[in-house]
Symmetry: C2
């Protein structure tokens, strides 16, 4: 036999997702979507391909370089999106008059970045974004954080949401006359936790040109949130810190602090424990478009993998595409990073199949009976797979075992003749014979740990069961 | 003010999907996924980008031309997938030893084709594929058709599934000595319904080189299924038609007919009405890889838009990538065409938002109370949006009206002081005042047409309600 002509392979940094991961991934995604919808967020869709000019220069030099950009068949300069925020900006510029404000949307979609592949990082990954645009209110900031918190609560993951306010950082820079250097300073500060003070000091000296005194004061500022026993303690320390600042700086800082206090009050109203929120003054978030609150989410048991949900407030989402000012706030769940994290924590249940019951038919002459039994079990809300060919029972049981299907309904000659089922529990090996279809459904429900559904009264006539007693 | 530097626009043949369509689209997708899972199909994911050699030459010359193909940053020759079948073939070649056979998977994903944009046809669209691979049994064919039928039943759409068997077509060609010309003949026959006999006669003459007698016999064959009162009548007519055929042809035809009879028997066992199945001998399905049963699905009320779910059986899915023979059967729902169809039929309910209740807070000092009420309503399973800023009540009601949110919970000074809610029904204008949070939840459920949930007994102590009576 000739060698197959084409080697089956995937591109570097890309991957197939097999059912054992794809099933819990789909479940996780569905949970997130249900949370978004429970807060009244609506889905939108945008194209994966955009005109390159729409996407270029919106993230950073790095995202520009990492873009999948090419000329399409019509010689248009096009690129695959690298995030969902830039497409939202373009979408808002085009459609905000149709959807109105405030507008809250979620968007679950794939994005592409040709970055160096690393553990748990791929060139193609899903993002789950949710934003409220058209309002400057801190109530919207709190609503986004509440959604974040609820997402992780729903997934059963312990996490801490760390937040900061960009205005506090720029006020701090004003107190040391370093406003002009804010970009390199924020970039350096963002590395504090990972790289440590020494490395950041070096960067602040070489890249931002700060002197020793300025650097000392910056560290004094970021340390205000360390060892504070509560967020209100940090806020009170910040009030002291800015007390001696110039009037203009003081006013700006006070405004930011009032916003944070409102956010914390609303979050407390939502029942979120103050201890799962952490005002951390060293957080800057790289992207330049944030102007207000910024936040990120660390898994308590696995902080190393970095933030699994980040975002912040921006003053003007779509200024490149429209004159209308569109302030907003939003966050993004890194689904695939989160998935990798949960896999590492062992909290992700791998599954080989979605089926709960396998129906095994042993002769072709009984295939229609198998279909009938399958349809009735399925109509009772149980996920059931009819084994799709005639094979020996041993082979069908082996299949159920390999796929971790817990229950097998066996239909042989005797079952066919008497219109009954035999139920085999794969874990115990126990068999129940001569079950009517109603008994079969009830027993399968019990074995699956669900309340046994009563037979549908419409089908058996009303109260038939009662009359029998 | 300066003109924004970049014109916001999408590429020709691409589009944004706004909430009013995206919400029912997401609901539809979720319904389909639930059907797939109820039959034990498991999700997989594959990359949107593949090596071009994996995708080229697998569909047709047309799909090759329509491919988005380019050199990536690493100079690799890559392309965006144009369907989900070729990626499945590549996936199976790489992973079939891990997942085992029979293997049933579904795959919901975006595909790209640079075809001429038409009404309801875009260059980017979603496919929902489901396949069973690793078996040649007609039971699997029936299982796929059962899933198709169940999908449309779930969506509340009347449809007819038309099917045929490739072997019957090739047997018919054998009886007129035209086996060599099967590709142009099948391509022509596939156009019978749309183009009519005259046009197809022309094509059969010019493209396939058939003479008058051959063409007459081909039409005699395709007409066997016309005006038949049942599928078994068509099968019986086919047995007559092939009676005089050469022995080898007769055996092959009989085998195909037996398979179709088994499929019909299993479908009848699943409770599917024979009248919603139509053995139609003029169906060939364009793609060359089908070898057995082929099928397509027409909306009864809107046949013009073409098939919304098509597929068939293939002998060897992955022969280009592996020596292992992988027979299978599958189908694909054209989600976006279906969506366009349902929109045209007016059966799609446009929705402006997922929210069922809007919580309106009137003063910043009460924002945390609004968050608390929202959280409690949400915990009862109601989708609730906290209006994300402080605005006049009239403005918040206008928002609810525009978004079609049926219920508004109003929280003013009085409600805040007494920890109660006022509920406004937007359609009637009716207001209920002084509702406790438990009463609020119960009333919202009633207004939403759901069973009013009882207060959680754990929160009020057991049997408290009974003791009150």
């Amino acid at each position: 036999m000739a060698k197959p002509p084409i080697q089956p392979r995937v591109l570097k940094g890309f991957r197939d997702i097999l059912p054992e991961t794809a099933i819990p991934r789909a479940e996780m995604l569905q949970s997130l979507v249900e949370v978004f919808q429970s807060f009244g967020f609506s889905p939108i869709e945008t194209p994966a391909l955009e005109y390159a000019e729409i996407l270029l220069g919106k993230g950073s030099e790095e995202t520009d370089k990492q873009m999948y950009r090419f000329a399409d068949n019509g010689k248009r300069d096009v690129a695959l999106r690298f995030d969902l925020t830039v497409p939202l900006a373009r979408f808002a510029a085009m459609h905000i008059h149709e959807v109105g404000t405030p507008f809250r949307r979620y968007h679950v979609a794939t994005v592409w970045r040709a970055e160096k592949p690393q553990r748990g990082r791929y060139r193609e990954f899903a993002q789950c974004d949710f934003d409220i645009i058209g309002t400057t209110s801190a109530i919207a900031d709190a609503e986004i954080i509440t959604v974040m918190h609820r997402c992780f609560e729903t997934l059963g993951v312990n996490c801490t949401i760390r937040f900061n306010h960009r205005a506090l950082l720029s006020c701090a820079l004003e107190t040391i006359d370093a406003s002009e250097q804010s970009v390199p300073v924020l970039r350096a500060i963002d590395k504090l936790e990972k790289a440590g003070e020494e490395a950041v000091t070096k960067e602040l000296t070489s890249e931002a040109g700060l002197n020793e005194e300025q650097i000392a004061r910056i560290f004094l500022f970021t340390q205000l949130s360390m060892n504070a026993t509560s967020n209100s303690e940090t806020i009170s320390r910040l009030r002291d810190f800015f007390e001696s600042a110039p009037a203009e700086t003081l006013v700006k800082a006070e405004e930011a602090l009032n916003q944070l206090e409102l956010v914390l009050r609303v979050l407390s109203g939502s029942g979120i424990d103050d201890r799962s929120l952490n005002l951390d003054l060293s957080i800057a978030r790289g992207l330049d478009y944030y102007t207000g609150i910024v936040f990120e989410t660390m898994l308590d048991e696995l902080p190393d993998i970095g933030s699994v949900c980040s975002g912040g407030r921006y003053d003007d989402l779509a200024s490149l595409y429209t004159k209308q000012q569109l302030p907003g706030v939003g966050a993004s769940v890194g689904l695939d990073r989160l998935l990798a994290g949960l896999e590492e924590l062992g909290t992700l249940k791998a599954k080989q199949t979605t089926a709960e019951v396998l129906v095994a038919v042993l002769e072709e002459a009984h295939a229609h009976f198998g279909a009938e039994v399958s349809a009735k079990i399925r109509a009772a809300g149980i996920k059931v797979e009819l084994y799709p060919q005639i094979s020996k029972l041993s082979q069908q049981l082996k299949y159920a075992d390999r796929k971790n299907i817990p229950l097998v309904v066996i239909l042989g000659e005797q079952e066919f003749q008497s219109s009954t089922c035999t139920i085999k529990s794969m874990s115990s090996g126990e068999q129940d014979k001569d079950c009517s279809i109603e008994q079969t459904i009830a027993l399968l429900n019990v074995r699956l740990g669900r309340p046994a559904s009563l037979p549908d009264p419409d089908e058996n006539g009303p109260d038939e069961n009662e009359l029998d007693e």
